[in-house]
């Protein structure tokens, strides 16, 4: 009995402060492991760990494995898990947290955040976004001219119908928006 207690204590002591901290989050503490989230998730079949397994892995101190997994990046934000969870866990928002944590530690799978980064850089510079510009920036950032080429027939179809946005509109308050975002960055958001 005492040996076992000692083992558990030493395993917990070996956790990084972040892995230790996440054990105290309500999502991890309150989950009843029923699997409703995983069964409800339309993309779970492609995930390294299903939503239920994510919580189980965190309880087992496997934060790094969770952050290296493709799971958060397969969340399409449909909120089925959130609205069905019998424990009231806001799992979709937790997925967003995991994405931010993975990025801060540079653990996210290669390429997983490139489209998001392209979007944010367009929005922050212009105040608006435009899908076509985003797609082009995204494929260039992935050194994938083939992807760009595959986009061509689709782009042409959109173009003849006057639906191809090449450049985003730039808002008048762009400078003010920039100041707001700088202010927040200085306040310590990653």
């Amino acid at each position: 009995m005492s040996t076992r207690t000692k083992e558990v204590t030493s395993r917990e002591a070996g956790l990084s402060p972040e892995a230790e901290a996440i054990l105290h989050r309500p999502e991890v503490l309150e989950c009843i492991q029923c699997g409703t989230c995983s069964a409800s998730c339309p993309t779970a079949y492609a995930m390294d760990y299903t939503p239920r397994q994510i919580i189980a892995a965190l309880r087992a101190g496997q934060l790094e494995k969770v952050l290296r997994s493709n799971t958060p990046w397969l969340c399409a934000s449909c909120y089925y898990c959130t609205v069905r969870c019998p424990a009231g866990i806001q799992f979709t928002d937790f997925m967003y947290d995991l994405k931010r944590m993975a990025l801060q530690r540079n653990l996210n799978p290669r390429g997983s955040a490139e489209f998001y980064k392209a979007t944010v850089s367009t929005v922050d510079r212009h105040g608006r976004s435009a899908e076509m510009e985003l797609m082009i920036r995204y494929y260039l950032s992935r050194f994938n001219p083939l992807g760009l080429l595959k986009l061509l027939p689709f782009g042409l179809k959109m173009l003849v119908r006057g639906r191809l946005p090449l450049l985003p509109h730039t808002i008048k308050g762009r400078a003010d928006l920039g100041k707001m975002l700088d202010h927040i960055a200085q306040e310590g958001e990653a």
Binding site: K99, S129, P153
Partner: protein, 291 residues
């Protein structure tokens, strides 16, 4: 009744038909939509995936501009994504004092202030709940009799907002029935289109979801889909070619915004409803109602 209107970035070019037709039907129904002056992008899930406070700030700027432009007028969005992001921001600001302080400070840098007086709405919700069945039916001059439509509402209209049933929302089917359409029973009405996954490394996963959505609509006899979100709309409309080559199918289903179908039933014109911009033409399908 005056509302602050938030068109959303997609509506500037690639789905401008949604913006045009929304403005046209709102006007015909006596709703005054005042576009938010110099609005910015809501950031959507890409921005929220990378940073939370900055994304709330993007949305708070729009809320502040809306409150200044039309005091006391609710904000009307037409994109499920924009609606979800702006509604989330509005709710979080009301319940989290620390976040509120941070956002107030950021707004002050741009000489803006948000007092938290607004409610964020979706145009479809306003039509169904505020305008209502009677007023809409009165405006219908060209009921869409015999048009077999599957209403595809998608996720973020009712999840997590709760403005409609979170499993089986009825707003879109109700509206389609009021304008005389033959509404197909479509169990996938609130299922996921893959959202932003269509634009990145995980496109295959999104294509699979879109394939299921399209194939089921066709199997149930739908001759077109009606949508209430430009992101759902683009996923189910613009990727049909890729779905076909990936799954060996021959799907070719016209996709229309609910506002376009509503406009047709009210006798509005092709031009103001942005008809003819579909990737799969709906011309023959709508011809019986366009007189």
């Amino acid at each position: 009744m005056a509302y602050s209107y938030y068109p959303g970035c997609t509506q500037e070019v690639s789905t401008k038909a949604y913006d045009h037709s929304s403005r046209a039907v709102a006007k015909a129904l006596g709703l005054e939509l005042v576009e938010i002056d110099d609005w910015n992008c809501c950031g959507s899930s890409p921005s929220y995936s990378l940073r939370d406070v900055a994304t709330y700030a993007l949305n708070a700027r729009n809320l502040a501009l809306a409150e200044r432009g039309v005091p006391g007028g609710d904000v009307v969005t037409i994109c499920n994504g924009c609606f979800g992001m702006m509604d989330k921001t509005n709710r979080r600001l009301a319940e989290d004092a620390d976040l509120r302080r941070e956002i107030d400070e950021a707004l002050a840098v741009a000489d803006l202030q948000y007092r938290g007086t607004l409610t964020v709405r979706h145009l479809l919700d306003i039509l169904v709940k505020d305008v209502g069945r009677e007023a809409i039916e009165q405006k219908v001059t060209h009921p869409l009799e015999g048009l077999k439509v599957a209403g595809y509402l998608g996720c973020a209209f009712s999840r997590p907002s709760g403005i409609d049933d979170m499993e089986f929302p009825t707003a879109l089917d109700d509206l389609l029935a009021w304008i005389g359409a033959d509404v197909v029973d479509y169990p996938l009405r609130a299922a996921c289109c893959g959202g932003v996954l269509m634009m990145g490394e995980q496109q295959d996963v999104a294509l699979k979801l879109v394939h299921t959505l399209l194939a089921e609509a066709v199997r149930r006899g739908a001759t077109c889909l009606a949508t209430a979100c430009p992101l759902c709309h683009l996923n189910v409309e613009a990727y049909q070619g890729q779905v076909n080559s990936r799954f060996g199918t021959d799907l070719s289903l016209p996709v229309l915004f609910f506002s376009q179908l509503l406009g047709v039933s009210m006798g509005l014109g092709t031009e103001e409803l942005g008809l003819g911009e579909e990737l799969v033409s709906a011309k023959a399908l709508l011809a019986p109602f366009m007189t």
